[in-house]
Amino acid sequence: MGHARAMAAPPDTDGDTPPRPARPGAGASVYGMELGIPLGGCRVLIADDSAFNRRTLTRFLQWAGITQVAFAASAEEVMERLESFAPDLLLLDAAMPRMDGIGVCRSLRGDPRWRDLPILMQSALHSDQMRTVCFSAGATDLIAKPINPGECIARVRYHLERRSMVQELRAFHERVERDLRQARAMQLALVPETAELAALAERNRLAVESVFRASEEIGGDFWTVFAFDGSRVGVFAADLSGHGIAAAINAFRLHTLLTRTPPEEMRDPASLLRQLNGRLCEILPLGQFATAFYGVIDRTDDTLLYAAAASPSPLLMTNFGIQPLDASGPLLGAFPNSAYTNRRVPLRRGDSLFLYSDGLSEARGADGAMLGEDGLLRLAERAAAEAPDRPLPALMARHAAIHGEHLNDDVTALWITRR
């Protein structure tokens, strides 16, 4: 117990009275309770086997506004109080007759539950070796004995504030992560579900392979496919400007507009884009827009009728080779009264249409060089030659080999073949 008396008594501490609630007084005002965040909600566990030390430390804590204090006088009690009291900070004496503080600290750090708990060790030994032993056992900080109230309060406050900020950040992070996971599931539900897509493809004698990935949790890409008039299939793909939440919300808006469009207005791609443009102009903030492609595959006359709003050039693959389609057109939702153009190309049995978002064509290799639409065309050509039955996975694998799995932009890729 020799070191117990080494603790400096503060000016107004008699050392024998039980802990009292914080009150205004010399200690309180001198030691700056008013600074920083209020600590009234914080809990501190004092592990010290000296009653005198416990009282003194309790008094200091009261000056800092901390009234929720519990005590432990042995290693077993420390473990029990950690569980039952759930402290925000542990004030631990490094060396006590009945407790090996260093050992307690080390074992707490081995337990994931207490890995982040601030542990302030008090030590009467001031050598650098002793300090090093404390820190390597996992102490967050040290307070030298005799304990000075000002230093003690400042260090306790610092670590509690830091912990509170970390907890706040972590809680915020967890909440946002949870929300984004939910939003992501909702976004994935916007695009055709696998079984539904397979059934639609089968009925319309198509083979459809798709990739849909967001660079962050959610993004601004969106695509859908639907059958109408018995022999027609509409394919709509859009990329909302920007990234993340704002782009995703705009993708949902576009999806809503599209699902509210009656089937008879789906036949004419240019007129559909004109209508969507008008409605998007009313709801999108200035500078936000979508690039889009809408095509109608017609089995009876073997054609693809399409209109586009500045989308990446789709690739048409026929017996004559691979050919980029003109997908120029005004951005969707940027300017009212934009005019769109219908274009018609042959699309016979065995021909394929490859649609992709710029996330794929604007990917950069390790050397910083951008793949570009020409580069992507060559990749598609190779994939079609090497894996005619399943070209898209082959293309994506080759793409990942050059540009990595993680891209900086949302990626949509659709490979549609008429069978």
Partner: protein, 101 residues
């Protein structure tokens, strides 16, 4: 993206350089600050040193055009090349912007 401003009595030329992307919203606010000019003043974006524009970059051109219209400035784009030229061509910007090439 970086930018530099060349002032003449009746015109302001803003040279944009590098990559104009999502990350440049703050820089772009400084670009827009140079639009504080009297009605009729000419403001030109010189794009000849711009290597790349993403969709957010195109959005910034749209905001610049709108700002210029509200202040009655004579706004134009000039000198786009390669990828930037391709993008503003497929988006048919010549129908909405004054392209001074």
């Amino acid at each position: 993206m970086d930018f530099s401003v060349r002032e003449a009595p009746a015109s302001t030329e803003i040279v944009l350089s590098g990559r104009m992307t999502f990350a440049d919203h703050d820089t772009f606010r400084d670009v827009i600050a140079t639009f504080e000019r009297p009605a009729g003043h000419r403001v030109v974006f010189d794009l000849s040193r711009l290597d790349f524009v993403d969709s957010s970059g195109l959005g910034m051109f749209i905001i610049a055009r709108d700002t210029a219209q509200r202040r009655n400035l004579d706004f134009a784009l000039r000198g786009a090349r390669d990828e930037v030229r391709r993008l503003i061509t497929i988006a048919k910007f010549h129908t909405m912007f004054n392209i001074a090439d």
